[in-house]
Symmetry: C2
Subunit: 295 residues, 2 copies
């Protein structure tokens, strides 16, 4: 097996190419918008979600080009959400992936519109026959992506997160918040591979169980990084949750128990993959990566 970090890097490069082609910069009056959309999307990010899509798609013999397009659409959604979340009216962040955030580099209005443009483009990319020859597969992907990223998914999680600055959440509330805010999209990133591969119900269930535990482990690790990471490592401001007085897995469980919980969830995630042979080894490695990462 290729080392995990090399495989992740390889997918990141391939996704970057697809995104670069999708976000063509033409000499039109709206070029500023596409400059901002490209700035928000290209040249950074682990591309962890597309990696999950590509690896889960491999389990079902899906062509790499199809998996990369679906992964690129997911990444467009991820990037738009970062642009909007960073706005002064939301988390008010100046730094992202070690660069100025979009509204700092351009302005607030451009950031709002660039986010809207990326969000819309994600669905255009999936609807294109280049993502899968069967229209029914494409509509299934669109339904899944919309649910995972919409009002009862990522956007809903962000809404709860904003309220969490004034309402102290219990562990159950935080778990639900995170399942919506990051878990739903992580789960869909895996599910997209199964949809592309028209996988059996059993295979989908196994992947869904994996993705559920992976998503929570990912978020607990994120909370730990906010407490223990440095700006140099993470490329963004740290210590924000505590400063905002927000309840997180770490503030409730303490760092040690939170770390133990993340590792337990990673073990559980790997457990779910017993349905698959060694073709799922990179997904197994991804579960370890999620809890061990430094950014």
């Amino acid at each position: 097996m290729q080392p995990f970090e090399a495989a992740l890097q390889e997918t990141a490069l391939a996704v970057e190419q697809v995104l670069d082609q999708i976000l063509t910069l033409e000499d039109t009056a709206e070029a500023r918008l596409f400059t901002a959309m490209r700035y928000a999307t290209l040249g950074g990010g682990k591309r962890f979600r597309p990696f999950l899509t590509r690896q889960s798609a491999r389990l079902f013999g899906v062509a790499s080009s199809n998996a990369l397009r679906a992964g690129a659409a997911i990444e467009l959604i991820h990037c738009y959400s970062l642009v909007h979340d960073d706005l002064p009216a939301m988390d008010d962040d100046d730094l992202r992936r070690g660069k100025q955030t979009v509204h700092k580099k351009f302005d607030d209005a451009t950031a709002i519109l660039a986010g809207d443009g990326l969000l819309t483009l994600a669905f255009e990319v999936i609807a294109d026959p280049a993502t899968h020859e069967m229209a029914s597969v494409r509509t299934e992907l669109i339904t899944g992506l919309a649910k995972a990223s919409g009002g009862h998914g990522m956007v809903g999680g962000q809404m709860i997160d904003l309220a969490a600055e004034t309402t102290m959440l219990e562990i159950g509330g935080i778990t639900r918040l995170q399942q919506l805010k990051t878990g739903a999209m992580i789960a869909f990133s895996c599910e997209a591979g199964a949809i592309l591969g028209r996988a059996s119900i059993q295979a989908r269930d196994a992947l869904r169980g994996y993705a559920h535990d992976l998503g929570l482990a990912f978020q607990i690790a994120d909370d730990l990084l906010d407490v223990e990471g440095t700006m140099e490592e993470t490329g963004k401001a740290v210590g924000k949750d505590e400063a905002a007085g927000k309840a997180t897995f770490v503030s409730i469980l303490g760092a040690e128990r939170a770390r133990a919980q993340a590792h337990l969830l990673a073990d559980q995630a790997i457990e779910h993959l017993s349905f698959f042979d060694e073709a799922a080894d990179q997904l197994r490695a991804a579960a370890r990566f999620v809890v061990d990462r430094k950014n």
Copy 2:
């Protein structure tokens, strides 16, 4: 033929019902988001775009339920664009359809998220088999909606519009701005009926010509309303273009020539419909309505 205003009103009521069903308010932690999404969407608006979809769909014998769902998705996009355009970072409007804008009623962050949620929901609605039994028709609708509302459509037009506050546009630049900002979605509203009805190329071309002229006439009338309308009639602040020093059809052509141009475009739009029999009479009436309306 039913009087135009009555037909428009009937569709508005039917669309309101569909939107009300789509935007179910559940007792979840993210309820505030859906309250804002409902506030942004329900209880107002002429629903002119869904009317165009329904009337063009009728030409091809499309079931009313299918046309209303596609029309509702288009209206979700229209409503999200108003919510984001009204934000302080954009047009900074306090009043819309005679009510407080979403960010005034809630807050900026909620308005950003409600817009994102509505935008995402539009694609979920179209991807659902209830909109059309054939997945290939649904993907065609999604592609068309994404192009019309995205970076080279409505969002791109909004970007150019922001730049127009500092760069003085000529008539050609304004025409392109408006074709993107409002024309593309008006055109797609008509085209959606043809897609649902799997119409012939000739029928689509005729509708496209109609919609193109209709969209421009619509925008010139909008510019005239901004100069000549009152807040009581329009339900929103007026005189904003002039105050912002923005070039519009009216500032360049003068009110009289702009009005003449709008009527000429309405005539041309009707001309394009000669391909159709009296089934297109409401679309003909719509062209007259667009240039004669007071809000």
